[in-house]
Amino acid sequence: MSDPGERLVNLALFLAKTPRFVSAEELRAERLGYPDDQDDAAFLRMFERDKEALRAAGIAIEVDEYESYRIDRAGTFATAVTLSAEETATVRTAVAALATDEAFPFAEDLTIALAKLGQGAPAPVAVATALADEDPRAQGSSAAVAAEGIAARKLLTFDYTNARGESRLHEVAPYGIFFREGRWYLAGLDTSIGEIRVYALKRAERVRMNPLQPKTPDFERPDWFAVADYSLHPFQYGAEPFEAVVRFSAEDAWRAPRLAGGTGEIEVQPDGTALWRVQAADARGLAAWCVEHGPGVVPLEPQAVVDTFRMGLQEVLARHER
């Protein structure tokens, strides 16, 4: 038999059809597709790989005390899912579109997931996604390798060019990845400096995972790590953090949670305005953010941000006189 897929399907069908535990030798004797001239060691290696492949496909294989195998039916078969019309439309549009987006690092797994859910048919509406506008394929590919490194807890190495144009090789224990405004980022422990850093994957080249001892983790991720803590607003990057308050007008108060993105705390005032208390680290960046997301969004505290906002806008007026 030349097609390994046929052997794996035969193995899966046989295990699913057979309610009792079956030994590896019995499976070999059933002529499911293992080469006749294979020695015992080669067969066992191939059989191990096949079990891994079936498990990776979602088929749960039980092992008894005699090293015999059968399918765990409860763990293997999905239960029916009932979705509302809106939920179905969501899955059929957004999710299906992402399966063909080069910047989405899990596209292949997503297509199989949709097929299993019976939601992979084309959506009858136009929908398009372009998550990244800069090297989408490269970003998606790097993010996919990073995600594998995170799951397997294996070190990554890559060449990285920082914003100043300086390039060097980095070795990183990958803790998490996040997507923000068209770019994928990696947060992880840089082994050369012993600190957690965030890397824009568009600046990384040749991202690769340590191939040695693939089943043995290279590191343990700290329990306290949460990737959301590293997905920050631009004004939250800086050496000296401070607490800021931003006011949304009553008409714009509903925009506060949209723009806050889960950071800080929002308090709606009796007059309908909303105050957003948020950690910042860049006074000028926060002042600029308020202008960009206005009207109706102004800084209230600290005074340094208010002054930057006011003086910056006065400078703008001076530079744009009639």
Binding site: M1, P4, G5, E6, V9, A53, G58, F77, A78, T79, A85, A89, T90, R92, A94, V95, F106, L110, I112, A113, L114, A115, K116, L117, P122, P124, V125, A126, V127, A128, T129, A130, L131, A147, G176, F178, F179, A226, A228, P234, E251, R255, R258, L259, G261, R284, A288, C290, V291, E292, G294, P295, F309, R310, G312, L313, Q314, V316, L317, H320
Partner: protein, 317 residues
Amino acid sequence: MSARKNTAMHTRRMLALLPYLKQGSTLKLSDLAASVGATVAEVAADLTALSYCGVPPFTPDEMIDLAIDDDTVTVYVAPPALDRPVRLAPREARALVAALEAAGYAADDPLVGKLLSAASAELDPAELAATLRAGDASAPVAGIYALLAEAIESGTKVRIGYFSAGSGVHSERVICPYALANERGAWYVNAHCESAGEVRTFRLDRIRDAENTGEHFERPAAVSASITPGGEGLPLAVLRLSPVARHTEERDWPGAAFNMKENGAVFAEVPYSSATWVARRVAAGLGTIDAIETEEVRAAVREVAQGALGQLGCPES
């Protein structure tokens, strides 16, 4: 794609196809291909390989029997087992959660929980939440997305409350939604706006609320999911970006040409349909970006800056 990876996907597709092969059914190859995210040629190869599969003693009634004829496949003997969907493997569940996050659904959204509880037993949601954030956190628009997706499918009009970043104005509109698009993580809907009398693009995180009116509309035959406006015929703003300015990358100014430099400053020619949108970004430069042309944009910059100072309670100049 490497040969090993091709083989793995071929196998995963073959297993995913099994529940679709009901005895006596005739299926279109294009539908099956779409269902498993493959080309018609790939799915034909998958089906051909499946026709050699079965269980011992591999007699005709214990093997999958199917025939491919042009663009269809007819199933004479269904798979002897695995005739209903298997659970998602952890990496497939991860992909689904990531995709839903990208659509604006938080990892703890009921839809995510419903899909995972039925389809995947092994995924650790806490582990995934700690290590992966695939959605843009600034756009929690899942409910609005779902309503629009369903309205597009059913062809029904939607009433929206909208904040226009271009004009800074809040308004109520009735739209006929045609298509959804995601660019750089932000979702947009292309729709005919009854107030404007033309097709407009609305960013979902600027939709305050949305309500299906129940009134039906006819969708045009040709619907575009593109949100990038053509630059032809639009006026050009000329900007000078100082070396310390933010927003100096081409992606920050769609359609712009960066072709002049002087003393470290970059000059950009930006096509615009909304002078206020350009002006707001210029003003956000807080003195590091100058609008050289047009006078319309310069006037808009003054208006934005004066308005912001007024909201701060400051003298305007």
